[in-house]
Symmetry: C2
Subunit: 340 residues, 2 copies
DNA sequence: GACTGGCACTCGCTACAGTCGAGTGCCAGG
DNA sequence: CCTGGCACTCGACTGTAGCGAGTGCCAGTC
């Protein structure tokens, strides 16, 4: 069944009013606040249709209407335009991100910036190792039987692992190992390394074989197979705005979900094309988040994508504004990464 | 004014009951649940005195008594014995911490373990750089004018910074720089490095001077002066247990405080002797946390202390249990660090 | 056929009165 | 110094009533 333009305008008005007032909106208030050009009674008829179609609902019989998840979906897809950022916001983004000394620093600043601009919970995934290439591998002797393996990725990520060698390895051998490993692996995408590492173990001189074997095990198991993803989070205090009306009274499930890296990664770390993704309420696969919406997108230097970032908040959120902010921040971060 | 033994027993009973039931406790319930050997009326008289002295109070005129912050303080100082951990808890700690591959991993596991055992918010400070020594400094060329400086500390921490060189530096010079820097700084406490770095810049051959100068700036400014502290957090969902009765209805101030690293560091990152510290309610210097208590202690390999860890929860918490758990976990972590 | 004004109806919210009961403070007596 | 008894307080809960925002429906108008 088709909805004519006016019904769509009514839906849009309901969403906008509800988002800003947080109260069910009635037909009378609607015609007063928006130039719909019709009477409340007409609006009521339209509302009845919208309700029948599942776009809005009444919390109680004698209350105004509230958008459903489906209503928000329609609003996002067809009724809203991405708001351009205000100059103040643009300046804030630049000011915030300039002067980051370090990948950690970039991620940290980004996540706080996002939380501050959107007034929601912000989530930023560190550049994924799976999509990084090896820039350099460093072996630092800790003792004769211990090495610290430091991997520097082209995305700026640095990971380290302690390697317990099967026996003592002299300093010269460590130098050889370092050279060999770098010759073979530097520049390779992390996902392409397994066969290379395999080859390394086989080609290596006999006396280095045992050390190289344990080294390769650590490398493959802790860096490649379970590719270590990291996540930064900020703005959880924003969940308490709207005083428990959002999230039907309990922050518990939300806070629990936010503690699970796996969940967050699923939310914002998707591969997908570079479009912005919006998940509304029960579209979400996690029960804990059925009262929340997520706006996320990928970021990376140039047009490649190395990680995701986004915000999470009540379904009653300012979608156009948040979408715009998330996109803008992702773009700036991408530029920042491209410079390094 | 002195409190006799029975009054103290009454206070202890009130604290214990209130902590477990979360409801104001009355005189009748008290004599039923504890073997005090006296009648409710007597208990009432004792309560009146305790209230006058500020150890307990009545939420409403016709309600039972609730401990005040001062009452908890007395309880913690004089009325409670540290609970020995159950074997199950000991096993949990060992099981949880065995198999950590990495300092990050240790800290991560520790903070989750603490949150799980105490059912409170857990906070763990990474080993402080200020109390670490330099184990090794690595310089990785990124381009001819860029280096990645990687510092590995004896505590296992690894920090990296991008260094923009004033001009191109050939590979051999980087090797020289690396050697010089390590000869001078390896083994030094980070806090002792400034004069050493100063000397380095002066001693270095003229052609390396500019590079060494920028290098030393980065080193001193980002690693020594503003000593980068890091913090891990877990268990925020535990704040919602006790359904908003704790924290007088709003998690907001607590969540805000937990987002401020500075605040957390002040809470758990104190120098102090190796005793366990308990901050109760308004003893806390931050207004946001006046409804919360913190139990914290230092940890480190052997008897030295390299960082702090602890838990944060409502003033109505199981102090003896949490103190025991915090201590035990700190001890295990210390042992773990000593092994590396 | 679409829109509008009018009207009866629903139902959550608030205020108010009344009851109940847990808990207290006090006092006289052991 | 402790205890049992007793009057009192006051929050929690219940039921009732009135208010008002908002609705659905219908007959009338353009």
């Amino acid at each position: 069944m088709g909805l004519d333009d006016r019904k769509l305008a009514v839906l849009r008005a309901i969403v906008e009013d509800y988002v800003s007032t947080q109260e069910p909106v009635g037909s009378k208030a609607l015609v007063e606040r928006h130039q719909l050009g019709v009477s409340p009674a007409t609006v009521r008829n339209d509302m009845a249709v919208l309700e029948e179609e599942g776009y809005i609902r009444q919390p109680h019989t004698s209350a105004g209407r509230v958008p459903t998840d489906r209503g928000y979906r329609l609003f996002v897809d067809r009724l809203s335009r991405v708001k351009p950022l205000s100059p103040a916001e643009r300046r804030a983004i630049e000011r915030f991100l300039v002067g980051a000394v370090d990948l950690d620093d970039v991620v940290h600043r980004t996540v706080r910036l996002l939380a501050q601009l959107t007034r929601q919970v912000a989530v930023v995934q560190y550049p994924s190792l799976a999509r990084s290439s090896v820039r350099h591998l460093e072996l630092v002797p800790i003792s004769t039987t211990r090495l610290m393996l430091v991997m520097i990725a082209d995305t700026g990520r640095v990971e380290q692992r302690l390697v317990e060698l099967p026996g003592p390895v002299p300093a010269d051998d460590v130098t050889d190992l370092r050279r060999l490993v770098n010759e073979k692996l530097a520049g390779a995408r992390l996902s392409d390394t397994p066969p290379l590492v395999q080859a390394l173990v086989e080609e290596v001189p006999a006396e280095l074989r045992p050390a190289m074997t344990t080294l390769s095990t650590v490398l493959l198991e802790t860096l490649v197979e379970r590719h270590e993803e990291r996540i930064a989070l900020a703005g959880t205090a924003n969940l308490t705005r709207g005083g428990l009306l959002d999230f039907q009274g309990s922050l518990r499930p939300i806070l629990e979900a936010l503690e699970e890296e796996v969940v967050l990664l699923k939310l914002i770390g998707e591969t997908e094309p570079s479009t912005t993704r919006v998940l509304i309420g029960d579209e979400n696969e996690f029960d804990n988040l059925r009262a929340a919406s997520v706006v996320s997108t990928g970021y990376g230097p140039g047009s490649t994508i190395v990680g995701g970032l986004g915000v999470l908040g009540p379904t009653r959120m300012d979608y156009p504004g948040n979408i715009a902010t998330v996109r803008a921040v992702a773009r700036y971060v991408g530029e920042l990464l491209a410079q390094n």
